[in-house]
Point group: C2
Chain length 647, copies 2
């Protein structure tokens, strides 16, 4: 190509070899893409200072954004939604607190303060704040490693508050440091597998309550739990078992109704509360306790007591507590944020993940000061809130007010709630989380995603929740690194009667130009794949030359299409220089087509452009092919003459 530059005049457009952007400009742009991809401060530009302050307050404390325009019409919707979610919050609070092995009243407290905090700082309109099942169980299994909740319930409870405090700090810090990026690494497949596995072990756990067993295992894996049931089978009580089956059938029936007629969502939303009331009445009038039907027991009247003085940072427990706080914090963020944003998408809105993290963090922080444990935006409750027609975060305030009234006046009434009713509520909720259809979908579309999902599912069911999760996230990262270290390359051919070049495997009617090999590279070229790309290019050429037997078809030009190469590092440039040297040794010329701006800057800064010459760069595949064909004809004079003879 070096000898044919005189031929280039008829091309209008050439590569832009102008000076690279400055370092600070690039750094700023990279930092912005990494930490502020949604450009949250755009709205402050071109505003007066006074407006900026107001907008800033509204940005950090979203309630000031919507409360000035709030009116009675909106409140009617929010009141109804708030009432509905409160009716769900009471049974869920009691049951999930049981899962976490803490007093049931804590579950009720957790639906008073956190929803208030979220209503002030949260930006989602549909999120309903409450406790979540999977994390409740995870808290139980992790903290009971260091303190037995039956032997020292007070210390255990204090450690749960401490874990919640750590969750709060962790979540707020992630949000403030704009590290929402971390949550992106929990893939959809991991969450599907985790939900399914958790649902399985939670359902099995509930068999204790359904069968009315007195003895059980503290482990969560499938094998231990089934073993414990078999070992204690003589304790199975027919009356609780019957009650349990009836309750589950009732709850599942209401779900079926909702599925058939989405307008009846309130039937299934109210069903857990109805179950609790009927169960309580049954236990009260039949003196169920005497027949072996275990009940919740005494519930103190009154709102949340202060718990800040109980936070316990004793180094003996700190490692387990911090681990609990961070893992549950991470999981509850993943659940809450993905749910919040999927409901926002339905209403054509968007949510700022990092801001949500700060709101979640503050909610758990204040929660840990006021006798609450971990809260998030659980899927079921948020869906009910959405379907009940909530308009703003006011529904959370309504929930908090009704919960406060319940705590002040009605709490003692719930003492007769039979444990079997709670087990039935949890089991029924969990059955909906086993998303086998999604697993089948994953299997059909992407086998590696399916593997990630199954690793999490089986890891959670047969080993433990944290191991399953870590293995699955690890597989996801491994996949990300494989993507990076083995980027796809393909051979391009020309589509007939056009100047378009496409993958020859994908478009079998495209044809290769004799003597020219066009390769499309993808992904950044850098240390993790530069050696691979070098070897892959050489293999393409070997494969090519073993096919073409006629001498005139020998590859003389390799065109590398850089359209998909988003960046390059120094090792990558070294690799290109080596590749070029190896190709030159075989009499093959290498040219680069359409390098992007980042790549071009690196190539200029490292003097790669000077080394290989500007004539090896092309803006456009068609130009490059034209140039190469010209030089091919020049280097094969006989062929050229023959062709002229025919003309």
């Amino acid at each position: 190509m070096g000898t044919t530059t005189n031929n280039r005049d008829d091309h209008h457009h050439t590569i832009n070899f102008s000076a690279p952007r400055g370092f600070s400009k690039k750094l700023k742009s990279n930092l912005k893409e990494t930490l502020f991809p949604d450009d949250p401060f755009k709205q402050f530009k071109n505003e007066k200072p006074s407006r900026r302050v107001i907008k800033g307050i509204q940005y950090f404390v979203p309630i000031f954004g919507w409360i000035p325009n709030y009116n009675l019409r909106l409140f009617r919707y929010d009141l109804l939604a708030g009432l509905t979610i409160t009716s769900l919050a009471i049974p869920q609070g009691i049951s999930y607190a049981k899962l976490a092995a803490i007093p049931p009243i804590i579950g009720l407290y957790s639906s008073f303060v956190p929803p208030l905090v979220y209503a002030i700082f949260g930006s989602s309109k549909h999120m309903a704040v409450g406790v979540i099942a999977a994390c409740s169980l995870l808290i139980h299994t992790t903290i009971s490693e260091v303190v037995n909740p039956e032997e020292d319930p007070a210390l255990y409870l204090h450690l749960v508050f401490t874990a919640t405090f750590i969750t709060g700090i962790f979540q707020a810090a992630l949000g403030l440091l704009r590290l929402g990026i971390l949550v992106d690494f929990l893939s959809h497949s991991t969450i599907t597998g985790f939900m399914g596995g958790t649902a399985i072990i939670l359902c099995l756990q509930q068999l204790k309550g359904i069968f009315g067993l007195a003895h059980f295992t503290t482990k969560t894996d499938v094998v231990s739990v089934i073993g414990a049931i078999i070992a204690n089978r003589h304790e199975i009580k027919w009356i609780t078992t019957l009650l349990g089956v009836v309750f589950i059938a009732f709850l599942q029936f209401t779900k079926y109704l909702r599925k058939k007629n989405p307008k009846l969502f309130w039937v299934s939303a109210m069903a857990p509360m109805v179950t609790v009331i009927i169960g309580g009445l049954f236990a009260y009038f039949t003196h169920g306790e005497k027949h072996g039907v275990q009940i919740v027991g005494h519930l103190e009247r009154g709102i949340n007591p202060i718990s800040i003085q109980y936070l316990n940072f004793n180094s003996k427990y700190l490692s387990a507590v911090a681990r609990t706080g961070i893992i549950t914090g991470f999981l509850s963020l993943a659940e809450g944020i993905s749910i919040g944003s999927s409901f926002a998408v339905m209403k054509n809105e968007q949510i700022d993940g990092n801001k949500e993290m700060v709101a979640f963090g503050l909610m758990n922080l204040f929660g840990s000061f006021t006798s609450c444990y971990l809260t998030s935006g659980p899927f079921s409750k948020t869906a009910v809130n959405f379907n009940a027609g909530c308009r703003t975060a006011m529904s959370n305030i309504v929930q908090a007010v009704f919960m406060a009234l319940t705590l002040l006046f009605l709490a003692p009434l719930f003492r007769y709630t039979p444990l079997v009713a709670l087990s039935a509520i949890i089991m029924s909720a969990m059955l909906g989380l086993i998303d086998y259809e999604e697993a089948i979908h994953l299997f059909k579309v992407d086998k590696f995603d399916f593997l990630i999902c199954m690793a999490c599912f089986f890891g959670v069911s047969f080993l433990s929740m944290d191991v399953g999760l870590l293995v699955s996230v690890g597989l996801g990262l491994l996949r990300a690194l494989l993507y990076v270290s083995r980027p796809a390359t393909c051979k391009l051919g020309k589509l007939q009667n056009s100047s378009v070049y496409r993958d020859m495997e994908q478009y079998p009617d495209s044809t290769q130009i004799p003597g020219i090999l066009i390769l499309q590279l993808g992904s950044p070229i850098y240390f993790a794949n530069s050696k691979y790309i070098k070897e892959r290019i050489l293999r393409w050429i070997r494969d090519e030359q073993s096919i073409s037997l006629s001498k005139s078809d020998l590859i003389e030009h390799v065109l590398l299409d850089f359209t998909g190469v988003t960046s390059i590092d120094t090792t990558g440039i070294e690799g290109l220089i080596e590749t070029r040297r190896l190709l030159e040794g075989r009499g093959i010329k290498m040219a680069i087509v359409n390098p992007r701006i980042d790549v071009m800057e690196k190539m200029m800064a490292s003097h790669f452009v000077d080394k290989v010459g500007k004539e090896s760069f092309f803006l456009n595949l068609d130009d490059a092919v034209g140039e190469c064909q010209y030089s091919l004809h020049k280097s094969q004079p006989n062929f050229d003459v023959e062709e002229r003879g025919f003309a």
Copy 2:
């Protein structure tokens, strides 16, 4: 676009919507790309079984490939090269064994068996096998954590053999499992920083020998070593210091000569041996020992004794030993393979990294059975071998034979070698490894590479070798993950009088088509970046709409150029569906241009194509723009009429 399909007839080429490739075909192709990117078994295809066996043996035992054609002419070159590297092997063996705190004779043993093994199994023609300085020091610092080499030298030595054994197993396993991919994650920047940092601490270590200090620290970091020198400054002996300075000056002068006149490379290659001989003569005739010049001391005559019975897998030491084995194994692979392949590139050849790993592994495995410690292909020795004109791995056999002769007859002569001469040799070798020019180059080209390099340099110098290395590799991985989670996107504009679309920032003369936003995506779209890509697309549209004030310029079509998107996973497809829904809510149509084969397969399998309709896919940007413009005109009848009025 859905309404304008009648307009599509005049396009010759459309997207290929044919059935996806089968799962097994895809899996096979992916596994091949990941583990066998160089397609090593291609040569066995289309061969008779008998030829296959021969080719197979030649593949796994490369000596059978070249020995049948070996002749005396080649041997003349290899003999000279072998002699030259032996003269380097003797002083290096003694000095580096001192670094590893093992008897000097072990260093000599290590240049007998391993070169023989490498000559049989290795595929590089230029590699000269020998011990390496950085790993010797690393062995010392890591194993002395569990056993003090001065208190129990025998146990310490056995643990060094055991570490070498583990290195061998580890390297061979990596090669057999085709995990050469792991070495790719040690970037050029990390190696530069590691070499520089190691050179600094090795030079400082040598000040003990140069100053003739009796007491010193066992730590390696800059602060401890300088502190130890200051604390023991009363022990500094002028005679050894003088000798040291003279030796270093001599060695550096020979290097300077080589730099001025590359033909004089043998002067600098011989210089260490000359230093040892002159130093020995000086110590012998002046009775240096009495003047405080420490000497090497007694060296046993005879070749390597068997050491397999000394391998010690006591669990008390195993963790430290395994760590040493794996880290040094990894590092020595990285050094050896990168050097082997860079010399191969100079001669227009290629090296199979995985095969080299097996050869290295076998060499260390047999080494650990025969009183050798860790060996690799050190840069200095390999360069000398190359410059001395070696033709095949026979030079390593020559080295082994001369080393055997030395061990059998000459070893005792080296007892008078002064330690200061060894220190001078190490120091002089290390000074060449501080590649500040490369660091400046990194700073200029890529700031993140520079950061990775500096992290390793300062980590190694001020903390410890393994911490520095791990931090630097961790930064490299972080960068890889950032690449993956924040892929570059850009807005494309049309170049005048052409059908070519390019980045508008890079080509400021390109123009945007009113009402149409063309975005180029890069890298795979999947769980780690699908949310980012969604937000980034929405931000492009927001930015766009805040610029265009006139109503007729409002964006109605977003074209996503998928040329650079090498693959997609289920989360990525979900993200695209969400993006499409959000855009539709704003009255914007989304189309996908030129999806690659992997992406198309996933989109078909997940029914994405059915959901969005085939009319939203285009093969080519220019077709897509034409179609969009047509639908724009149809949707703006007034505008259309006006235009016609002008025509």
